[in-house]
C-alpha cells in the first residue's frame, strides 16, 4: 500500500471517488461542449477545403480524433484495470469498466467515418489492409472485454480477469500505429504525429486539435458518469450509499 501516494489512496476510496467524479463529469462535459462548437466552426466553416480532396476531407475532423481516442482509451482502460487489479482499488476497476463502452464507441466511429471517407477516396468502403484490420481487431478486443466482464458474476473476480485480458490486448496498439509503416497500405501515413514537423497546414491543424481535445473531455465526462453508476451498484450495501440515496429522497 505504501507505494501509492497518500492523496491517491484517499481519492480512490469509493466514496471520495464518487464525489470527485460527479464534479469532474460536469466540468468536463461543459468544456467538451465548448470545444466541439469551436472545433466544428473552424473545421466546417472557417478552414479551406483540401486542395486534393475538396470538402470530403472535412470528415477528417471527426475521423482522426476518433481514431486517436480509440487507441488512447484502450491504453487508459488497460492501465487503470491493472492498477485496480494489483492494489484492489474498486474505483480504478470501475473506471476501466466504464471506459470499455466509450472506447468501443470511438472505435466504431473511427471505422464508420473511415469507411464513409474511403468511398470517395479509394472507391470502396472497405479494404483489408493492416490498419483497417487492426482497428477492427481493436473493436473486437473492446467487445471481448465487455463480454468477459458480463459473463463473470462476482464483480471482484470479473475485475481481475478483465484486467489480464486488457493487458494482453495492449499488444495490438503499437500494431495499429505502425501498421502503415510495416505494410504498404492505402491508408494515410502519419501526417500530424510525425516527430519532426507536421505536414499539415496550420488552418487544418487547429480545428483538428480542438476536436481532439473536445473528444478527450467528452470521454472523461462520460466515463466518470458511468463509473459513478457502477460504483453505486457495487457498493449498494454500504453505509455511504444508503446515506446518499436516503438523502436524495429527502428523508
Amino acid at each position: 500500500m505504501s507505494i501509492i501516494p497518500n492523496w491517491l489512496h484517499r481519492l480512490s476510496s469509493p466514496k471520495n471517488f464518487y464525489r470527485f467524479a460527479g464534479i469532474a463529469s460536469n466540468w468536463c462535459g461543459w468544456i467538451a461542449l465548448v470545444l466541439i462548437i469551436a472545433g466544428l466552426y473552424y473545421g466546417l466553416v472557417d478552414s479551406p477545403p483540401d486542395y486534393q480532396q475538396g470538402d470530403s476531407a472535412r470528415i477528417m475532423y471527426v475521423h482522426v480524433p476518433a481514431a486517436w481516442m480509440s487507441m488512447f482509451v484502450y491504453v487508459v482502460m488497460a492501465s487503470s484495470a491493472a492498477v485496480g487489479m494489483i492494489w484492489r482499488i474498486k474505483a480504478s476497476s470501475a473506471f476501466a469498466n466504464a471506459s470499455a463502452p466509450v472506447g468501443a464507441m470511438f472505435t466504431a466511429l473511427a471505422l464508420l467515418t473511415g469507411m464513409l471517407w474511403g468511398k470517395p477516396m479509394w472507391g470502396t468502403y472497405w479494404v483489408w489492409d493492416a490498419r483497417l484490420t487492426s482497428e477492427l481487431i481493436l473493436l473486437f478486443l473492446y467487445l471481448g472485454y465487455m463480454a468477459l466482464n458480463s459473463a463473470i458474476e462476482d464483480r471482484e473476480t470479473a475485475a481481475r480477469a478483465t484486467a489480464i485480458l486488457a493487458l494482453v490486448g495492449v499488444v495490438n496498439i503499437p500494431i495499429i500505429h505502425y501498421s502503415v509503416e510495416w505494410w504498404n497500405t492505402l491508408h494515410q501515413g502519419a501526417t500530424v504525429t510525425k516527430l519532426d514537423k507536421p505536414s499539415i497546414h496550420i488552418s487544418m491543424l487547429i480545428p483538428l486539435l480542438l476536436m481532439a481535445f473536445a473528444f478527450k473531455f467528452y470521454y472523461l465526462s462520460n466515463v466518470f458518469r458511468r463509473a459513478r453508476c457502477e460504483l453505486l451498484e457495487r457498493e449498494q450495501g454500504k453505509l455511504w450509499v444508503r446515506e446518499l440515496v436516503g438523502g436524495e429522497r429527502g428523508e
Binding site: E153, D154, R155, R234, E235, Q236, G237
Partner: protein, 210 residues
C-alpha cells in the same frame, strides 16, 4: 513433523456479491489438533476452507502459517498442505493407482509409501486396479481422492465433507486416518454435518453463521 506448526486466521471476513458471509473470524490450530467447522447450509464452511488453503482471497484479514502470512510464501505453505474438496481431484481416465502416483509426483511425497499399500488401505476391491476411475461408484472415487492424504507428506489436512458418499466402513477408515494423523503431530481442519468419533483425540469445534 514440525512440533511448532501453527495455523491461524486473523480477522477473516468474506463478502460474496456484496453480502458478507462472515466477518471477523479468528481461530488457531496447533500441531496435533483437529478442528471441525460446523454451521448450517450456506454458512460459509466451504468458502472458509478455500480461503484457508489460499485458493480464495478473503475480503479482509489473513491466514498465518507459523506466524507468517501464507501469501508471503505460498509455495512453502502448500508443501505442508493436503486438500480434499467437493471435487475429487482425480482424473477419470486414469486407474486409481495411476492417480495416486500422480499425486505423489506432483507434490511432496510421504517417504516409503507405495501406491499399492495405499490402495489396500483404502479397501478398494481388486478389480478396481485396472479400471479407469470413471467406472467407479461415487464412494469408490471418494476413497481414491482420500488416498492423497496417505501419499503426501503434509502436516495440515483440509477436508471438505470427507464422509460424503462413504459407507460405514469408509467412514471408520477416515476416522482412523484422522486420529493417526493427529497422534503423529499432524493437524486437520474439516467440515461435516455428522458426528465424528476419533478415539482418544479431542476435536475442537468452530461454529459458523450463528
Amino acid at each position: 513433523m514440525n512440533e511448532e506448526a501453527r495455523i491461524e486466521a486473523v480477522g477473516l471476513a468474506m463478502s460474496r456479491n456484496d453480502r458478507y458471509i462472515f466477518t471477523d473470524l479468528n481461530f488457531f490450530l496447533e500441531a496435533g489438533q483437529i478442528l471441525q467447522v460446523e454451521g448450517h447450509n450456506g454458512s460459509g464452511k466451504t468458502t472458509m476452507l478455500r480461503i484457508l488453503c489460499g485458493l480464495t482471497l478473503p475480503t479482509d484479514g489473513e491466514i498465518r502459517w507459523c506466524g507468517e502470512n501464507i501469501r508471503k510464501n505460498l509455495a512453502e505453505f502448500h508443501a505442508q498442505l493436503a486438500y480434499v474438496g467437493h471435487a475429487p481431484g482425480i482424473k477419470d481416465d486414469l486407474t486409481p493407482l495411476e492417480n495416486l502416483e500422480l499425486a505423489r509426483n506432483m507434490d511432496r511425497a510421504r517417504p516409503g509409501v507405495s501406491g499399492e499399500e495405499v490402495l489396500e488401505r483404502l479397501q478398494l476391491p481388486a478389480f478396481c486396479d485396472d479400471v479407469p476411475c470413471r467406472n467407479l461408484s461415487a464412494g469408490q472415487r471418494r476413497r481414491v481422492a482420500l488416498g492423497r492424504l496417505l501419499m503426501l507428506d503434509a502436516q495440515l489436512w483440509v477436508l471438505d465433507e470427507p464422509f460424503t458418499a462413504l459407507d460405514p466402513s469408509g467412514r471408520r477408515l477416515v476416522e482412523e486416518l484422522l486420529s493417526e494423523h493427529a497422534k503423529a503431530g499432524g493437524m486437520a481442519v474439516m467440515t461435516t454435518h455428522h458426528a465424528v468419533n476419533l478415539d482418544g483425540c479431542p476435536v475442537e469445534r468452530l461454529q459458523l453463521g450463528t
